[in-house]
Amino acid sequence: MNKLLLKQIWNERRSNTWMWTELLLVSVVMWFIVDTMYVKLHTYFEPRGFDISNTYWIRVGTLTANSPEYIQPSTRQVSAGTDMIELVERLRRHPDVEAVSLSYNSFPYNGSWNGGDVTVDTLKQFGRKYLVTPDFLRVFRYQGINGETPEQLAALLKEETVIIGDNYFEEKGISGRSLLNRFCKLNGDSLKSYRIAGVTKSVRFGDFVPASDSHYAMNFFGESWLAGYKESDVRYLEVCVRTHANCAPGFIERLRRDADKQFRVGNLLFEDIRSMQDIRRSFQLDDMNDFRNQLWGIGFLLLNIFMGLLGTFWFRTQQRRSEIALHLSVGSNRKQIFIRLLSEGLLLLVTATVVALIIDLNVAYMEYTPLMDEKVITVPRFLITVGTTLLLMALTMVGGIWIPARQAMKIQPAVALREE
C-alpha cells in the first residue's frame, strides 16, 4: 500500500514537483508570519499592570485674549493654577466620578514621555519618569507587588518618596521588590534622597510593548503646588478620570453638556475629552494594522495552496478516472479513495515541512525573527509556530483535495470502465 503510494507520487512527479516547491515556500513564509504574530500575541496577553476600563483623559485649555469672556489675569486675585485646583475639585464632586488625577506625560498609551535616571547606591538606570498626583494610582488601578491596593499605593506616594515598577532594575538583574524602602537619588541630583516607598507590578507602556522595554519611576506631584501656576503652565497638565464601575454609558456626553455651566473656572475650559479606549486604539493603530495585514497574508498563502491543490488534483483525478473507477469496482469505498488521494498530498506536505524546518531554523539563527522575552527563538515557541503552520496547511489540504475527489467519485464505475 505504502509502496504503491510512493510509486503513484513518482508517476505524478511533474505536477508534484510544482506542488512540493509551493508547499515548501508557503511553509517557510507562513511560519515566519505565524511566528511574528505569535510574538505579538504573547506580548499582548502579558499583564499590563494598569486598568483603563472606565477611564478618561481631559485636556484643559485656556481662553485667549481674543475671547470676550477672557478675564485679564492682572485683574484677578487667584492664579490659573488655583482655578485648576477648583476644576479638579468640581470633577471629584461629579456623581459619576470615582477618582481624578493630574500628571505630566504619564498616562498609558502615550507617545510623549519624559525620561530620567534613578540611582540606588552605585546602581543607575534610565527609565520613564512619571510625575503624578497620588490619585493617578487609583485612576489606573496600579497593583502593588506585595498585594497593595491602588488606594494603599496612593497613600505611599509623597513628596519625599518614589514608586517604581518591579522590573525597573531588571537589566541589572535586581528586582524592584528587593529595593523597597531603600533610598535613591533622581536625575543626577546628589543632594536630595527619596525613599522607594512602593513597588508595583511591571507596568507596560502599550499592549505591544513588552515589560522588558517598559521601565518607569513615579514622582509625587502636589496639587497645592499649582497655586502659583500661570495659564501657559496649566495647559501641559493631563487630567485623568475614573468613573464608577456602575456608571451609565455616555459619560463624555454628560460631562460635555455640563461643561459650560459647571466646568468653566476662570479662563479654563475643557478642550478635549476622550476615553482611554480611544487613545489606546489610536496609539497602537499601526500595530493593529500590521497584525491585520499579516492575517491577510496568511489567508492569501492558504488560498493559494487551496487553489493549487484544487487545480492539480482536479486535473489528476480527471486523468485517473478509470483507475478510481477500478478501485471502486473491486470494492474500495469512497472514503478509502479520498484517503488515498489525501495521503498523496499529506506525504508531500510532510516532506516539504521537513526541509522547511531547516530553513526556518536558519532564519531564526540569523536573527530575522522578532525577539520574545529577549530571545530570538525557543523550543516551545518553535514547536508551537511550526505546529500551527503545519496544521493550517493540512486543513487547507483536506479542503483542496476533497472537492476534486468528490467530483471524481461521483462517477459510476461501469461508465468509467466502459469509456476505457
Binding site: 516547491t21 481662553l63 481674543n66 478642550e271 491577510w296 492569501f300 493559494n304 487545480g311
Partner: protein, 427 residues
C-alpha cells in the same frame, strides 16, 4: 497574429473551465493583493489634492535639542517653536514657499451662543495656501498681513460650515473657537486625514492664538512643524545645504543649547515613515521589506499557475508537434505560449485591479489608516483620485508581465524543447 493569440487563449479558457477559472482567479487575486500593497504605499507618497506637489515637498516633522556640546542621547525631541521655525526655515531663500503649522489640536467650535463641538485645528501662516493647493468653494485664504498681525480669521471645511450654518456660503460670518470669535475667511473642500500634512477642519493664523506661549526648552521647542515647496526636485540638495547653514547660525546664537534635525528635511516618502521624534526611520529596511512582500505575492501564485499551464500544455503536445514539423522554431513556440498566457494574465490583471480599487474604496478608511499619534475627530476618507495615478497602471502592467513570465516561462521553455517525433506520437 495577435488576434490568433487571443482566439487561442479564449478557446483554451473554454476547453478547461475549472482550470481556467482557478488560474484567472489565482492571477486576479495576486494582482489585487499586490495592488493593495502598492496603493498602501502610494497613498502616503503619490500626489493628490491638497498635497498635489508631494514630489517637490520637504518636511520637518520633529526636531531635537540638547545641551551644547552634550550627547544627542540626552535630548528633548518634539515639534519646534515658532521662533525656531521662523529663523531656521521661514528664512530660507531657496524654496518657493515655506509654511509653519501646528500639529492638529482639538478645539471647541460653535456659532455665537451655539453648542460647541470638537474640530481638528491647525494654526498656520499664509504660505500654507501656496505649499498646499486647497479648493476654495467660498471666500479666500487669509493673506500675509492678516497672518502676521494675528487677525482672528479662519478657513474651514465644507463639513464644518454645514455643521455650523447648514450651508457652505458662510465667508464673512462668525465662528467661535474655544469661545473666541473668528471671522470665516474661506471655505474649502474637506481634506482626507491621509493628506496628513495639509489635513485639518479649521485653519487659523498662528499669531491669532496664544500658541506662541506653548513653547518649551527655552523657546526652542514648541508645537510647530514645517513643510516647504521646492521649485524643483533638483533643488533638494541646495535647500538642505541652506537649512544646515541656518541651523549652525541658530545654534551659534544659543547660549546653552543646540538643535539637530536627525536627517531632516525629509522627502514625502521618508516623512510618511517618520513616526517618532527621537529616531530616524530605516528607509532601506522598509524598501527591502516591500520588495520581499512583492516577491512573495508574485512567486507563490506563479508556482500554482506554472503547474496549471504545464498541465494544459501537456494536452497540446500533438498540436505543438504539428506546428514544429511545419517549420515553427522553438522560439516561435515559446513566444506563442507566452503571448497566449499574457492574454489570460492581462484579463485577470484587469479583474484584479478592479477588485483592488473597489476594495480600497469600500474599506479605505481602515485599510489606509495610519497612526498620527493624535486623536482626530474624523476618520480617513478615500476617493478615486487618491487611488488612481498613472504609476498605478504602470505597476499593474509591470506586475502582470512579471507574473506572466514567472508562470509561463518554464512551461513554455519545456514545451518548446519537446522533440518533433515525440510530440507527434504524443509521448
Amino acid at each position: 497574429m495577435i488576434k490568433q493569440y487571443i482566439q487561442q487563449a479564449i478557446y483554451q479558457l473554454r476547453a478547461q473551465p475549472v482550470l481556467s477559472a482557478i488560474s484567472i482567479l489565482g492571477t486576479a487575486l495576486a494582482i489585487c493583493l499586490i495592488m493593495v500593497v502598492v496603493m498602501m504605499q502610494q497613498i502616503k507618497t503619490e500626489p493628490y489634492a491638497p498635497e498635489s506637489n508631494r514630489d517637490r515637498m520637504l518636511h520637518v516633522k520633529w526636531m531635537t535639542s540638547f545641551q551644547k556640546g552634550g550627547s544627542i542621547d540626552y535630548s528633548s525631541n518634539g515639534p519646534m517653536s515658532i521662533q525656531t521655525a521662523r529663523q531656521c526655515f521661514r528664512a530660507l531663500t531657496t524654496p518657493e514657499a515655506v509654511t509653519i503649522y501646528s500639529i492638529e489640536h482639538t478645539m471647541q467650535a460653535s456659532i455665537p451662543k451655539g453648542t460647541a463641538f470638537g474640530v481638528d485645528m491647525k494654526q498656520t501662516d499664509e504660505q500654507f495656501w501656496k505649499v498646499f493647493d486647497f479648493s476654495f468653494v467660498d471666500g479666500k485664504p487669509f493673506d500675509e498681513a492678516q497672518s502676521e498681525a494675528g487677525i482672528p480669521v479662519a478657513v474651514i471645511t465644507e463639513s464644518v460650515a454645514r455643521a455650523l450654518y447648514g450651508t457652505v456660503q458662510v465667508s464673512g460670518k462668525a465662528i467661535h473657537l474655544n469661545y473666541a470669535p473668528f471671522r470665516i475667511a474661506g471655505v474649502v473642500r474637506d481634506v482626507s486625514t491621509l493628506a496628513a500634512n495639509a489635513y485639518a477642519q479649521v485653519w487659523v493664523p498662528y499669531r491669532s492664538t496664544d500658541i506662541d506661549g506653548m513653547s518649551w526648552y527655552n523657546n526652542i521647542m514648541g508645537a510647530m512643524r514645517v513643510s516647504m515647496l521646492a521649485r524643483s526636485k533638483n533643488d533638494f540638495a541646495a535647500i538642505r545645504k541652506e537649512c544646515e547653514q541656518l541651523r549652525l547660525k541658530y545654534n551659534a546664537g544659543l547660549k546653552d543649547e543646540e538643535i539637530a534635525y536627525r536627517d531632516q528635511p525629509d522627502t514625502q516618502e521618508v516623512s510618511a515613515l517618520r513616526k517618532w521624534a527621537n529616531g530616524s526611520p530605516d528607509i532601506k529596511a522598509e524598501r527591502n521589506k516591500r520588495l520581499l512582500v512583492y516577491a512573495i505575492l508574485l512567486i507563490i501564485p506563479a508556482i500554482n499557475l506554472s503547474s496549471m499551464t504545464q498541465s494544459r500544455l501537456r494536452q497540446r503536445v500533438a498540436e505543438i508537434g504539428v506546428r514544429r514539423s511545419f517549420g515553427s522554431t522553438r522560439g516561435n513556440i515559446m513566444w506563442q505560449v507566452l503571448a497566449e498566457n499574457l492574454v489570460l494574465t492581462c484579463i485577470a490583471g484587469l479583474v484584479g485591479l478592479l477588485f483592488c480599487v473597489l476594495f480600497a474604496l469600500a474599506f479605505g478608511s481602515t485599510l489606509f489608516s495610519a497612526s498620527t499619534l493624535m486623536l482626530l475627530n474624523e476618520a480617513p476618507t478615500v476617493d478615486v483620485m487618491m487611488l488612481m495615478h498613472t504609476s498605478t497602471f504602470g505597476y499593474a502592467l509591470l506586475f502582470c508581465l512579471i507574473l506572466n513570465l514567472l508562470s509561463a516561462g518554464i512551461p513554455a521553455w519545456k514545451a518548446s524543447r519537446v522533440s518533433i517525433t515525440d510530440a507527434l506520437s504524443n509521448q
